[in-house]
Amino acid sequence: MKLSAPAIQFEKVSRYFGEVKAVDAVDLEIRDGEFFSMLGPSGSGKTTCLRMIAGFDRPTSGRIILYGQDVSTLPPYERDVNTVFQDYALFPHMTVGENVAYGLMIRKVAKAEQMKRMEEMLDLVQLAGYAARKPSQLSGGQRQRVALARALINHPKVLLLDEPLGALDLKLRQQMQVELKAIQKRVGITFIFVTHDQEEALTMSDRIAVFRDGKIEQIGSPADVYERPATPFVAGFVGTSNLVSGDMAARITGDAQTFSVRPEKIHLAAPGQTVANDAYSADGVIRDVVYLGLFTRYLVELDGGGDLVVVEQNLKSTSMDVLKARGRAVRLLWNRDHISRVGG
């Protein structure tokens, strides 16, 4: 397999706002054609990184390299990168068609060609026939698609998406997640997606960078980040996790090093059930039960102190069954491979 040049490289990139280190010496490499997510809580530096790639913000120090070219000091209009904005930023005085064709109009592409490509783009985002409307006549989801079409019409090398699904309701968001992924496959452009929604990042990305306080905590595939979180923060931020440390860890594994285990990896078994060689176990009592339809969440208080959250799918049980489980003694079992040492 031929290795192509990385789409984006960050070399010790920092961005300070006064005393605040929004981005702190970040090194990063984003591959050509991948769907890359920057995940983190607000204020973690992910959006600042995106804005520095777009050129709206400049690094205080370090270099940003786009397909081998140092773009750190180039203005936005000289970068082959386009952005889908969080608030869509559609031009209110132009029609949908004029919005989409804006990039071509600026580049003085011939009128006929503009029309043709604008219609292709509206087709791609399933808005054929909407060219004459004003953005104010569209729903949130439709504006989102217009913003996407407008950003893709210049065939940028990299498409930046700044929390583009944040304003949509859940159903629409899930639908757009699938569509965005499909569109990315079709156009074959590198997508960089900023989000604070871990589920969104896990669903769509080829790789995820988890940001915290201006630094990257972990970069990896969704499975990597989810199954083998590198730090307690990642374990807690991406999905929910049981973080076990100190005495409690020592009782279970014989080692006081902190580890994390996902609630769905733990099985509820009858007390005294035999423990296989490759499993860990802990005994306790179910203190709380939350029925969530598809699955049920149990809070189990361990006999030696501390508690673990366990999630089980409601394959056979009904809400009546699970709610009766409160106060029952149980043995918890899980495979030794399913813990992740998170040093900390």
Binding site: A54, Y77, N82, Q86, A89, F91, H93, Y102, I106
Partner: protein, 301 residues
């Protein structure tokens, strides 16, 4: 008791509407529109030359009088001055408004806003007379030109026919300077308000799609600020059209609309002609607004 009143009112939403809206509506209809209608009516009466009395009979004769060469000259002169003042104010106001709206820190913005509107806190007359002194033959402006030994430039400007005069304070140029100064805040504030409503992300999006700053200005900023410019120009244009203090204090002996109205309704008691003169600016403003609408000034509202 109070509860009973509020319950009574709650059940009769139309009554509340009437109580709240009635007084201002009556004021608006009677005092505001009523006086305009009285004005319109008066413009269709005429003054009996011999007796000097107003004859309350419908006639277009009074309007006919507007079309004498000297009266047409008054309209053209005033409209020309209003247009020049509007263009100058728009050119001065735009960069200032843009800076205040998009670059100044919130703190600086407050101070700049106060600075812009500060002149409006003082009497209009005082400011006009201040300009009279500034522009006078022995005033600071001519002193400045002399000190720099470029008084020939001032003399050259004053020698331009129809806008020059014996000194700045006695010339249309001086009037223009005073008008442009006095109405400037009325242009800055609406433009600033329009620009503040343009989200920064629109400008970023334009640049992101390849537009250089000049293109972003032409394609995004200007169209979105245009309603503000039009709103400001309505102020500067109509205020100049109707003013009679500045032409009286600073100009030469040639009349402006405001002075003509003042003279006809005052000394000569020709109320119909004064009313007809007043309808002039109304018609000019209507035409102006129609043209502005044709140009799409209100599309983005």
């Amino acid at each position: 008791m109070l509860t009973r009143v509020s319950t009574y009112l709650y059940q009769r939403p139309r009554l509340i509407l009437f109580l709240l809206l009635g007084p201002p509506m009556i004021y608006f209809l009677v005092v505001y529109l009523g006086s305009l209608i009285a004005l319109l009516l008066n413009s269709f009466y005429y003054l009996e030359e011999f007796t000097g009395l107003v004859v309350r009979e419908f006639t277009l004769e009074t309007y006919g009088e507007l079309f004498t060469p000297s009266n047409l000259g008054i309209f053209l002169r005033t409209a020309g001055m209003a247009a020049a003042v509007t263009v100058a104010d728009a050119l001065i106001a735009f960069p200032l408004a843009y800076y205040i709206a998009k670059f100044a820190s919130p703190r600086a913005r407050t101070w700049l806003y106060i600075a812009v509107t500060l002149p409006l806190w003082s009497s209009y007359l005082v400011r006009v007379y201040a300009w009279k002194l500034i522009l006078a033959k022995e005033g600071i402006v001519s002193w400045f030109f002399e000190a720099l030994r470029i008084d020939f430039a001032l003399d050259w400007i004053l020698s331009i026919p129809s806008i020059g005069g014996s000194s700045l304070s006695l010339s249309p140029i001086g009037m223009f300077i005073a008008f442009a100064y006095i109405w400037l805040p009325y242009m800055i504030v609406p433009i600033q308000t329009a620009l503040e409503r343009v989200p920064k992300s629109l400008l970023e999006a334009s640049g992101d799609l390849g537009a250089k700053p000049a293109q972003t200005f032409r394609k995004i900023i200007l169209p979105l600020a245009f309603p503000g410019v039009v709103a400001g120009s309505i102020f500067t244009f109509s205020l100049t059209l109707g003013d009679f203090i500045v032409p009286q204090s600073l100009g030469n002996s040639r009349y402006f609309i405001g002075q003509a109205v003042y003279a006809h309704q005052g000394t000569s008691g020709n109320i119909p002609l004064a009313a007809a003169f007043t309808m002039g600016p109304v018609v000019i403003m209507l035409a102006y607004l129609l043209i502005a609408r044709k140009l799409g000034a209100f599309d983005a509202l």
